[in-house]
Amino acid sequence: MLLVNSVKQFVTRRLPDALHRLGSPRLFFETSGRWLPWLLALSVGLLLLGAIWALLFAPADYQQGHSVRIMYIHVPAAILAQSGYLMMAVAATVFLVWRIKLADIAMQSAAALGISITFLALVTGAIWGKPTWGTWWVWDARLTSTLVLFFLYIGMIALRAAMAHRAGVGRACAVLALVGLVNLPIIKYSVDWWYTLHQPASFSLSRAPTMPLEMWLPLLVMVLAYYLFFFTAWIMRIRQLILVREKDTDWVRQWLASL
């Protein structure tokens, strides 16, 4: 009973309180401003470490030769393309339920970053496909579902652009993000079932690695670096949009004057 009550209090009181406090654009801007240099240094450092390790020191594949190194750029991008949509949908849910302006900004930023990373995954995939499969593009399950994911991101951005000056733009995009989220697994499974040629996912934290440790470790570093970089870029984009949206408030004017 005590547990139920405390859970209830957490969901109905504490969580919204915390969200609303953090959801204040000004507070977020100030707090994130203090974290940003550290995050930026850490993510760029990790990216450099991972890239140098993967591109110079990791072993070449006995079949693919050096072209296997594209994996270190491609696989993290492909993973992040999907989690980017998930993060966008989480922001959409927070915005629909609690109407926090910051969540709308976070959703908008996640869409922009997500589409870029999906594009990166598609392009690096094509570049990797040429030496390994002998073709830039195949209508294979995972390529196709990534392409559809790309289209879903385009829909989000197109809807926001079309409704730019309307009050309901954030909520309309949030509804679309959730509809897309429901569909994402259906699209994934239907496309998988439709045709598959792609190797099964070779990178997973929950299973024993199917690749040698010398390749798995730099890949892990790259995945972490990509995530960290995504978060850093996300925060930077959110900060920029906060400034744009709140440009007529006193605190933004003061901040600009203090530069």
């Binding site: 309901g168 309309a172 509809v179 897309g180 239907s190 439709w194």
Partner: protein, 222 residues
């Protein structure tokens, strides 16, 4: 239920006042299909090979073209606002509208499919599978499309935007439906496909009216 039927009937009557608009998707479907033989060439093998895909993509596009009709006139004359404040829950009203839309746009597409399949040299087995698949899936298309239409009804020109929002979501049904037709053409058993398509139909029957209602509320607020 009685109210639901009344709402469907009201929508049918309102839409039937403008028969030309209702015929457009159907005519579009027929013309697009007749263009393909001109583009691909009249060869029997080539046409029957690509027929399921052609019919399906053309049906998707025809449904999309008609999506603008579903809420537009009620939005323009303000009836949609009345529906928002009526005692009947908005998702139910919208489900009635979607039903009426399917009866007027989806069903004619189903009826004309065997004829078009004939034009593309599809044999009898394939024709049955083709028609059955369109019959099963066109309600799903209307349901999913209504979400896109609801989100964009407040925009002056939402037509192409609806296509961008909705087409990626149509991917699973397109895959399943064309697979069903291919199985039918090969003389196989496609009961499994039917179950899957029904599952997707019921899923969208449950979710799409709620999402459309949210979209309509947002569109009407501005």
């Amino acid at each position: 239920m009685k109210l639901f039927i009344a709402a469907v009937r009201r929508d049918l009557q309102a839409q039937l006042r403008r028969p030309a608009e209702l015929l457009n998707p159907l005519i579009f479907f027929i013309i697009v299909i007749s263009l393909f033989p001109l583009g691909i060439g009249p060869s029997r093998e080539a046409l029957s090979l690509v027929a399921p895909g052609l019919l399906w993509v053309a049906a998707l596009l025809a449904t999309l073209m008609s999506m603008d009709l579903i809420f537009r006139s009620d939005f323009d004359d303000g009836s949609l606002e009345q529906m928002l404040v009526s005692a009947m829950p908005l998702p139910v009203i919208l489900l009635a509208k979607i039903t009426a839309h399917w009866l007027l746009v989806g069903l004619p597409l189903v009826l004309v499919t065997p004829l078009l399949a004939l034009l593309l040299y599809v044999d009898a087995r394939g024709m049955v599978a083709m028609t059955l698949s369109i019959l099963l899936v066109s309600p799903t298309l209307s349901l999913i499309g209504s979400v896109g239409a609801a989100l964009t009804v407040g925009l002056p020109r939402g037509g192409l935007l609806v296509a961008i929002l909705v087409l990626p979501i149509y991917v699973p049904v397109l895959i399943l439906a064309t697979a069903m037709v291919a199985t039918g053409l090969a003389g196989g058993d496609y009961t499994g496909h039917i179950y899957w398509l029904m599952a997707i139909l019921f899923l969208s029957l449950g979710l799409a009216p709620v999402a459309s209602a949210a979209g309509i509320r947002i569109s009407l607020e501005d």
